[in-house]
């Protein structure tokens, strides 16, 4: 059933978020540490373990597939509620700090990629 897939990956998200909050509390950080990442790992492991029940053709799989197809629309809604006004009208320090970080990070990606391929 479609709802099984939806329930399963919703449960993965809840477990991951709990683990992420617990991990944050453990190292004394007021943030969720890796919650979504842990949820994704859980889902990947479950999908590999139960290949027959959980694939894109199965009903459960289609329940998850629907939400991955809704990914871009959800992201567009996320973009539409960003505080763009604060970013645009923030002044030189914030704009230079934020954009400088992005430019340098982009520039270093090919370099790390090369190191990764060598090793």
């Amino acid at each position: 059933m479609i709802v099984y897939g939806v329930a399963l990956f919703s449960a993965c998200l809840l477990i991951g978020l709990i683990a992420g909050d617990a991990l944050g509390a453990l190292i004394g950080v007021k943030a969720n540490v890796g919650g979504v990442g842990i949820s994704m790992l859980l889902l990947i492991v479950l999908a590999e373990r139960f290949k027959n029940e959980l694939n894109l053709e199965s009903a459960s799989g289609r329940g998850i597939g629907f939400w991955s197809a809704m990914y871009i629309p959800v992201v567009v809604a996320m973009a539409a509620q960003q505080n763009v006004l604060a970013a645009v009208s923030s002044g030189a320090v914030a704009i230079l700090a934020g954009s400088g970080a992005v430019i340098l990070s982009f520039a270093l990606i090919p370099l790390i990629n090369k190191m990764n391929k060598k090793s």
Binding site: K30, N32, I44, A79, A86, A97, N116
Partner: protein, 257 residues
């Protein structure tokens, strides 16, 4: 007629999430039309849709003076639910369905390396900009540097160090600039840095780290790459919150003596 508009408005406001689905569908439809008609599909429809979303967020901010873009207009409050952290997290996790565990095994080290480079690099850029604009208090410099990591690391650091609210606002703004710029620029820069495979996506996620930026930026390049970039990015903010108010602050304090 006025009555009809009033009734429609009430229905839209009462059914916020449904209104959001309809509006986002229209935005995406328009975006794909623009993409095919004017760029022959070279600039992807989803990249245009995200840009239109950001533009609407700006207009929403100008109209209401609020912090949640279009979602602050009551008629479009459902956008806040549809694009809020709950459904974004759910959608990100769903993209992991069909992702290969092997790719993560192969590039785990590169992910950790890019994470441990990405956080300090963004911090140093932010801190240097703050310093060059005349900030000399280590608390201020560290908080602004932390803002360049992500807009969550900034205020967490600022509050931990007791920075004043003006500096904390500035650090949030720096993080917002970063997130929005990543959203807009990733589809344009992707071809030049070879961002078209899982390994590079993992490195990208670890270097940029800003969750919303990575989620939208990679989504506009290829939704199949999202889980690979999102994985290291979910550790980025946590790592930043750990090191910025502690190790980084001590280093800045020592340098400013």
């Amino acid at each position: 007629m006025d009555n009809f508009l009033e009734i429609s408005g009430q229905v839209f406001a009462k059914n916020g999430l449904i209104t959001a689905f309809t509006l986002v569908g229209l935005i995406i439809c328009l975006s794909y039309y623009l993409s095919n008609r004017f760029t022959k599909g070279r600039l992807h429809g989803s990249a245009i849709a995200i840009s239109i979303g950001l533009l609407l967020a700006y207009l929403g901010g100008v109209k209401t003076g609020g912090q949640k873009g279009l979602a602050d207009i009551p008629l479009f409050a459902g956008i806040g639910l549809m694009g809020g952290s709950m459904l974004i997290n759910l959608a990100i996790v769903s993209t992991a369905f069909g992702a290969g565990l092997d790719e993560f095994r192969k590039s785990g080290l590169a992910g950790i390396l890019s994470l441990s480079l990405g956080v300090p690099i963004s911090f140093v850029v932010g801190a240097l900009i703050a310093f060059s604009f005349g900030y000399s208090d280590p608390v201020d410099i560290t908080t602004i540097g932390a803002g360049a990591v992500t807009y969550i690391v900034g205020p967490v650091t600022g509050i931990a160090l007791g920075a004043n609210s003006e500096i904390i606002t500035l650090s949030i703004a720096a993080g917002l600039v970063k997130a929005i710029l990543v959203m807009l620029s990733t589809p344009l820069i992707a071809p030049y840095i070879g961002l078209n495979n899982p390994q590079t996506a993992i490195i990208f996620g670890g270097m940029m780290g800003t969750n919303s930026g990575v989620a939208a930026g990679l989504g506009a390049v290829d939704p199949k790459l999202v889980p690979y970039g999102a994985m290291p990015a979910t550790f980025y903010t946590g790592l930043g919150c750990l090191v910025a108010p502690s190790v980084f602050f001590l280093i800045v304090k020592w340098l400013m003596l």
